[in-house]
Symmetry: C2
Subunit: 182 residues, 2 copies
DNA sequence: TTCTCCATGTAAGTAGTTACATGATTGG
DNA sequence: CCAATCATGTAACTACTTACATGGAGAA
């Protein structure tokens, strides 16, 4: 029972329900506000996932319209909580899948004139700097959550910040040493 | 002429040809050895890409069998070099697409017993530590390339190293401060 | 009244993967 | 002679995205 035919995105839906999201719409919002830095999910995936999870008995849904506007809210069942925990416990290969056109372009930048290469480097640098700044702005919110017992969202946020800051640092060093003597 | 209907992966093929790869097989090897950390491409994509690029006049291919084994080698045309340069110059949105089940699990780890959460954290840490070590081993090779004029591959390699090291650092700090007082 | 947000859903399409199929060459 | 590597190609499938379609609620 409760075999592993759920996609990672279905587990994300399950997890967000566990953290208090209730409608499909809310799940989408929450993903955008919390994990979009390392996971995305489109609304066209969420609703079928919810139906699939309900059929599997991992969530229960009930209609709770806002006025005349239809709305369906979901909650984890005991089986759903268990399934989520099992998935989190389960040691499985965790491929790190980065797909970054920016880094690809930078990799090939020797084919460019120095000035163009430099512009590309700056664009990549700016992107990471901006991302780090955005994430740093969210930190207070995550800190509040951490005081209420959810400490891991704060950890993943810090990882995002740290790693964009690391990119910026390397880019600056490189521009300093390697590029200046040309 | 030379409009932008090429996929990023087609540009990767073009770029690898520019760096000296010649057969589809070699392109695949080169991708695995150099950019697989931030881009992957399956062999089932490479051969059709090559055909498409040839049709567009960006590469020329000729048969160069090894013994009786068929083999087709390609080279960039002037138009292909130009197209690659144009793409590299072109400022376009560069989404940073990370898709990481490890971080997702970590994000939800508050649903686990402390020991299980800790085990998950260690698994993520180990993954980054190993990846950083692997990349550090490649560094001498990239250094050689850098002395021959290809300096940007070294930069992207350093970015990979730095960012996995940053993850390890954050994970260690977190385990130190946040987790110990419980 | 009009705009933005809340809310759900589907259809069509794209990009990519895995797995299969084939077979020659080289080195031990 | 056997395994690993070199080498090319396709078919079937999966996951996911974009765009479309619909419409109520609340605020300005």
């Amino acid at each position: 029972m409760s075999s592993d035919e759920l996609s990672p995105s279905a587990y994300v839906v399950l997890g967000m329900l566990g953290l208090g999201a209730s409608s499909g719409y809310e799940i989408k919002q929450m993903v955008e506000l919390s994990i979009r830095f390392f996971w995305t999910i489109s609304q066209a995936q969420i609703y079928p996932s919810l139906a699939q999870l309900e059929e599997a008995g991992l969530v229960v849904g009930r209609s709770e319209p806002r006025g005349r506007r239809p709305r369906r809210v979901y909650a984890l069942t005991a089986a759903g909580e268990e399934e989520l925990r099992l998935w989190l416990q389960q040691a499985e290969p965790m491929p790190f899948e980065l797909r970054d056109i920016g880094l690809v372009k930078l990799f090939f930048a020797d084919a460019l004139e120095p000035d163009d290469a430099r512009a590309l480097l700056d664009a990549v640098r700016r992107r990471s700097a901006e991302r780090a700044a955005t994430l740093r702005e969210i930190e207070p919110v995550a800190n509040v959550g951490a005081e209420e017992g959810d400490i891991y969202p704060l950890l993943t946020l810090r990882m995002g910040i740290a790693f964009h800051e690391a990119m910026v640092r390397v880019l600056d060093e490189f521009a300093g040493h390697t590029l200046e003597g040309r």
